[in-house]
Amino acid sequence: MIETDILIIGAGPTGLFAVFEAGLLKLKCHIIDALPQPGGQLAELYPKKPIYDIPGYPEVLAGDLVNNLMEQIKQFQPGFTLAETAETIDKLDDGTFIVTTNKGTKHHAKAIAIAGGLGTFEPRKPEIENINFYEEKGVEYFVKDPELFRDKKIVIAGGGDSALDWSIFLADVASEVTLIHRRNEFRGALDSVEKLQEYKKLGLVNLVTPAEVVRLHGDDHLTAITINSDGQEQIIETDYFIPLFGLTPKLGPIANWGLEIEKNAIKVNNALDYQTNIDGIYAIGDVNIYPGKLKLILCGFHEATLMCQSVYNRLNPGKRYVLKYTTVSGVDGFDGTRKEAEKAVVKSID
């Protein structure tokens, strides 16, 4: 059982920044996210796109913002349960919660902060008969652990950044990589497209375009696929098929937690602390709704800060505390580190 003060559901910018604000109040955080890496949409959808409305940053790449947030929170040693979806919640008699993921990982927390953004990112599945049967038997929608594909034959389908980047990366891991796309053009970062071109020439990646996968074969595990290329069908032997057609967000199991939902978002008390209708469960960032709500990262940061103050007061009733400024008080990490402003010297000048 993982023990924490605040269990944050969603590792997007709002969830990550909550770790920092909680840390200042000596509250420990653990984060669950359905994706295999932190950063939410910023890391998954548009890591290389610039953002222009983060205060103090005239321009910052989404991926860099995530890296900066990870750097900013590291001294508060957040725990992560990645590539798992928060599925069920139980409120105990003492007001604490147990959240269990789809993989059975249990988390015991004093408060819950749902920072789920648009929801859990679920893969968009191609319309191929029996594809559900082969899930985890050769069909993988994410590359969670590249080692799974060590010395195996793999087929990747898709034409975007993920398909390009994983084809290139796995060329060094798998015994054979075939990339299939419905058209000849790929859409991705220029260096990825050029690298794939080079890998194709070197015979490190087999490229089949325009083509699509139409059937899957195998008894207990995938053994081959049929592709259709300009009306010609061809069978390719493979151990794994990785369709990378993007992700769709769904509110998912959280929708069944008894929270008040409006317009696919969780209603919160914005006049006070972004708490939901269930005492001890908060919702911050794009996942919540209240009058005047704006889905902006900067608003999520504000909401995370107020949530942490509320959790502190909830866990320490009667204990006096006033807001402190990091410039004055510095930052004491849970790892023993301390950051503080350099002290001015008092010295006469001759």
């Binding site: 949409q41 959808l45 548009y46 796109k49 648009l118 929801g119 968009r124 319309e127 898709g158 034409g159 975007g160 419905r182 058209r183 053009e185 859409r187 057609f245 993007g246 769709t248 967000p249 509110l251 317009k263 696919n264 978002a265």
Partner: protein, 110 residues
Amino acid sequence: MAQDITIKITDRDGVTHEVQAPTDMNMNIMELVRSYELAPEGTIGICGGMAMCASCQCYVLNEVPLPEKNPDEEAMLWEAFNVKDNSRLGCQLHITEAMDGLEIELAPES
């Protein structure tokens, strides 16, 4: 002051709405649909308008001058589901006075 134009939008339940669209706020069709709440939040404009999700896919029903598809839109429509010859991404259709009278239908959620 720039004139508003009229656009007819058929929602995913088949109901047609005639709406006024501003031409001076740098808005696109996806944002117009959201501003009139013609599709539930979270089911349209998921990527924010970067031509990366196709949740704002719509079918153009009449002949009105529209901008050509840029490579991003074309690539996304190749990846998307329920694509027809008259499919466009609403987020890539920036509203201009030339679009007055445009009629579109929202593609199913996928």
